[in-house]
Point group: C2
Chain length 477, copies 2
Amino acid sequence: MSEELGITVKKDEDISEWYQQVVLKAKLADYSPVKGTIIIRWQGMAVWEAIRNFWDPAMKEHGVENHYFPLFIPESLLKREAEHFEGFTPEVAWVTMAGETPLDERLAIRPTSETIMYEMFSKWVKSYRDLPLRVNQWCNVVRWETKMTKPFLRGREFLWHEGHTAHETREEAEEEMRWAIEWYRRISEELLAVPVVVGRKTESDKFAGADITMAIEALMPDGKALQMGTSHLLGQNFSKPFEIRFLGRDEKNHFVWQTSWGISTRMLGGMVLLHGDDRGMVFPPRVAPIQAVIIPIGFEKVPEVLEKARELKALLEGEGLRIRLDERKEYTPGFKFNEWELMGVPLRIELGPRDLKEGKMVLVRRNSGEKSSAEFSDTGAVKDALEGIQQDLLNSARELMKERTAEVEELEELKEVLEERKWAIINHCGREECEREIEAKVTGGPRVIPEEGGEPSGGCIGCGKKAAYRVYWARSY
Amino acid sequence: MSEELGITVKKDEDISEWYQQVVLKAKLADYSPVKGTIIIRWQGMAVWEAIRNFWDPAMKEHGVENHYFPLFIPESLLKREAEHFEGFTPEVAWVTMAGETPLDERLAIRPTSETIMYEMFSKWVKSYRDLPLRVNQWCNVVRWETKMTKPFLRGREFLWHEGHTAHETREEAEEEMRWAIEWYRRISEELLAVPVVVGRKTESDKFAGADITMAIEALMPDGKALQMGTSHLLGQNFSKPFEIRFLGRDEKNHFVWQTSWGISTRMLGGMVLLHGDDRGMVFPPRVAPIQAVIIPIGFEKVPEVLEKARELKALLEGEGLRIRLDERKEYTPGFKFNEWELMGVPLRIELGPRDLKEGKMVLVRRNSGEKSSAEFSDTGAVKDALEGIQQDLLNSARELMKERTAEVEELEELKEVLEERKWAIINHCGREECEREIEAKVTGGPRVIPEEGGEPSGGCIGCGKKAAYRVYWARSY
């Protein structure tokens, strides 16, 4: 592989340029002819599909039913909940023409589907017997970002899923919100090997129309926080304007209590940023499009090598692993090593005439470069190696998070910590104007009030008044 | 279940009203606040997911890579292939505003993705080593229908998948087109139990920009044909304007040969029309959201019934079956029977105190009403019943198709046959103006030139000249 094919900048030196090269060269995504949008290529889609394959059955098990709602939301419907509309309107793409005919009412391309879904909920819910109602859809959404876009991390269109539920009581809805965020934590940590802090957003930062927003936030290598998923307790903020009422067990009418929650292809950006290195992408094995690549060596001279390589491929695929065999004759093994490293395949299996003679294969781990030898056809060794890589990636990321988290009591210290590419835990009084004042003095903003943050001791970092909570503070994507 | 909850019109008497009731009441879909669009509800989505779960791995096995392309296509790009643009422009929804800002160039909501995909193909394909290139996406598309819309059958937005491939030779591309249509035949017949005729479209009827369009067409109970899927040989019609060139094995530059193919949620409409009956929906077991419903009888008095019913559910689910246990106490068994029949569940399992005593369960088939008894926990009997229903549905539909297909030699006869709610096979000369003349005299139009249609004997039904082929003629959805 020639120099230009590889990554030409170091992650540490210019993470932004590095990120774009990895995304493009490892075929996770490509730029599209429409500014601010991307094409998700097969290496990106495969990860999104792995997330879906893990999460969709868990939702169904929980009683969630998949639906598909229209892309278009009439303006009048989007406006029904005022705060929600205010939150989204600057980013809405509007359809105004169909064929050569102007439309009577312009149609928003969904930035999220609360309004169109809840219009239907009011038809579907009549009695407590219809509750809980749990609806999900996997779809595309559009938010016309005016800030600089970045593949996966910020774009004008992305893929996501959005779950929406309606319940008899606030308690039940709150439990549902927590159920979803806990699954998002698992998806992030167990699949993508991206550790997160789970917590709730401050008042200023929550979703437009929510009572409580919970989020999972991950620390990126540049010290910025990345929001990987959110879950909202909507209370009765939508059920009132949308008139979603049910006849209760008490034979009286009540408004339902609601939640909504979602994760998006943004998660893929976090995975790339955290695990990629100077040689390219590194996929966590559980979501890797190709989990292991077999490179037969010297098979032009010893055809048996290729035969055995094919046998090994079939054997591993039989165990449910995703395997690629690189049979190309026009490239050297060295070229192939580099290319598959760039592409992020977690495990390389080398098979040469000598290995063959000894009944062995060589396993090389993408993340550490560690080489080991195993009996040919020892599929367990391959699985163990993959599981080991998965754990190592998560552990390294946890290590990074620990190193880069600082408890801070003074504003000056906060400033320094942020400059050192860390995030901080501070005490805060909980007042919005105080939050604004701190934001004016340092970079970044509040991320989440951690679930397991403990009680604040001492005063607010901003105003010195009694602290209401401990909150993560960081720059963010 | 009260009268109004059930279907209030007979399929034979008013198939259009019947169809809408079944779709709505069996929770396949609902009308949305946006005219011409629907909400696909869980019973509809589950079928679409079953199709995806069957077809997606087969595509991957064949080397197809899933991608996701932007929803938006700039007008200039959509225009690049003139015939294609002409074909779609009357139905395009246009985005002209983002937030409060008018866009410099209006953006089409994709009616199909040839143009945006091929813009990228020209970047991705350099050499014969990059071929064949096989790209697929599962997504939503928008076509602003001005004719009367109908859930699944014709709407302004639908879900589909679109496969797009590029090849070195025309022969290879043609083979690919046939590969796809054969899989569509399998999906239609083996999953949905909807038998089809496979053939190619006449010149007047093919896809805008294709050299050859192949289609699968199904006969509906009202004698209309429904197109269930298409596969196109695009030749070099797009590779030339989009400049998709490759360095060939001969070291010269060539334009690629292309195909595109797709199936959509329209298929669901065909399944409903064909298999539903006066009591509601009938799902083919392989795609049924719920394959069997267990109705415990008298469990209020004999709690053991419910225990055993739960045991049975777990047992059947352990075999990979999709089972619902109806434990509701507020409804009678009779009400439940009707409701689950309306909902189309192919098999009902009744379990009462007497069955329990005898160690039995009762199986009732939705399509025929046939009752049989089986040993409790004989999961094989349940599977056999489901497989039997699947085959019966396909066989009945094949029977219907046979009865309703007539070979016709004279125009008068064609008219009669169409009025009898049949479709016809006619000889035709292949000239477009002759096709138009026939269309002016009878209802319907050409559907497909069947693959296994045999040679025409005798003259064209329209002009009497030498026939070029035999072609199916029918009214259509």
